[in-house]
Symmetry: C2
Subunit: 229 residues, 2 copies
DNA sequence: TCTCCTGGTGCTATTATCGCACCTCAAGTG
DNA sequence: CACTTGAGGTGCGATAATAGCACCAGGAGA
């Protein structure tokens, strides 16, 4: 279902990554034969690939003969944007506590927006559970739109982007999840290029005036905190 | 330095993963030539590999021509032990709040222990920053020792393991980090096999009686919460 | 017992990969 | 300004790694 990419430069690596993603997509574990069928490769090929992946702890073989994702992947993801993320975490925490909503840091990847850090408020009983690694089109939802705010105006862009550019933040309601309200602001890098966006998600309408000032302040802190790198 | 593994089943995949890890190890970004030198492969090989990795969003090419880790890796790590992790998070949060120390969930990978979830207390000014994905020998530190508690007695095991088996938890002091005190308990799976350990890390001596009961209770909750899977 | 499906393993034809030569471009350097 | 040096990027052939076959072993179920 994912990865209908026709071909890649390195076939073996490509197959290996597809195997890895197949394993990741099935938390309950997959056998060699199943993996081969899902990925569309020969059983023995999958076998070898899994061996290599196992050596790197990217997958691990359970006693039931099923492969599951291994601890190596979190070691990798650790260092992704560790600068941005570690800098962002305290600000996200403050943001979450102050607004009582789920705060998140989202970056751009191609045509998608991907959340890379989420902090949920501790003092609120019910809140939006926003997952780290959640991927969605950048043109949908406040988090994505905020990143587009940081870019120079594009022909054919959504009206919300053009409108939000003056305000400095983007707001959305129910675009990614019905009932969820979002408000995000862009974080630009040293050269003014869009890097990411910070924002909050709540289960109901947000006080735009109060929330936006908090979000904008967090975005500003992040921008200044990362401009030394 | 890492990965002195002589050979793996699939050479191309192996090289690709090495490239990925090399990129991960240098958050400031690496050029093609540098990557090739670090990994020990030809420049053009690295080039192709990076192309494939880029297609899968595992790495991304910045405007400065440097490759950095891409968002795809967090998507992968999302689903690692998502059952255990999502179940554990609220318990870790409780543990962190109750003890005022950093709570963590650690799993076994070969001869190493790897932390896969960490919750830091919110109401304490200074606390131990324990990183997700931190890897260390399983025979060092309370987190690793606790996992060994869950296993059947091994010849030559550390005295602390044998001693701790009666109490049901392991404690250590300054093994991984001088000044850090740890206390962990094993989480066993349905078949009694060691799955992981939960514990806390603090900057000073822990009240063993009070802390251990909290940690043991968290471990018990986890054990029961995961036995349906 | 027999069958069927699974995991696992040598082995060779074939195919993907490696590494060379080559090009472009930008930054130093005389 | 010409020259050098080092970077990224690309086409192509020989070679080496891989794909897929045949085959073995074991467990579940009929």
């Amino acid at each position: 279902m994912p990865d209908d990419t026709p071909a890649a430069g390195a076939k073996t690596l490509d197959n290996g990554i597809r195997v890895l993603k197949a394993v990741a997509a099935h938390p309950q574990g997959l056998g060699v034969t199943e993996i081969a069928r899902v990925v569309g490769i020969h059983r023995t090929v999958a076998y070898r690939l899994l061996g290599t992946l196992t050596q790197h702890s990217l997958v691990s073989l359970g006693k039931d003969g099923h492969y599951r994702l291994g601890p190596g992947v979190v070691e990798l993801s650790m260092s992704l944007r560790s600068d941005l993320r570690s800098v962002a975490r305290p600000h996200l925490r403050d943001l979450a506590e102050a607004t009582g909503a789920t705060a998140h840091l989202t970056i751009l990847d191609g045509q998608d927006a991907v959340s890379i850090a989420v902090v949920e408020p501790g003092n609120v009983g019910v809140h939006v559970a926003y997952r780290v690694g959640f991927r969605h089109p950048v043109t949908v939802g406040a988090a994505g739109l905020a990143i587009l705010l940081g870019r120079s105006p594009q022909p054919g862009e959504r009206a919300e982007v053009t409108a939000g550019r003056g305000r400095g933040f983007a707001a959305s309601q129910g675009e990614l999840q019905s009932g969820a309200w979002g408000l995000s602001a862009p974080v630009t890098g040293v050269d003014g290029e869009p890097v990411a966006s910070v924002g909050v998600i709540a289960l109901g309408p947000l006080d735009e005036a109060a929330t936006s000032s908090l979000v904008l302040r967090a975005a500003d802190c992040l921008r200044r905190a990362t401009e030394f790198t």
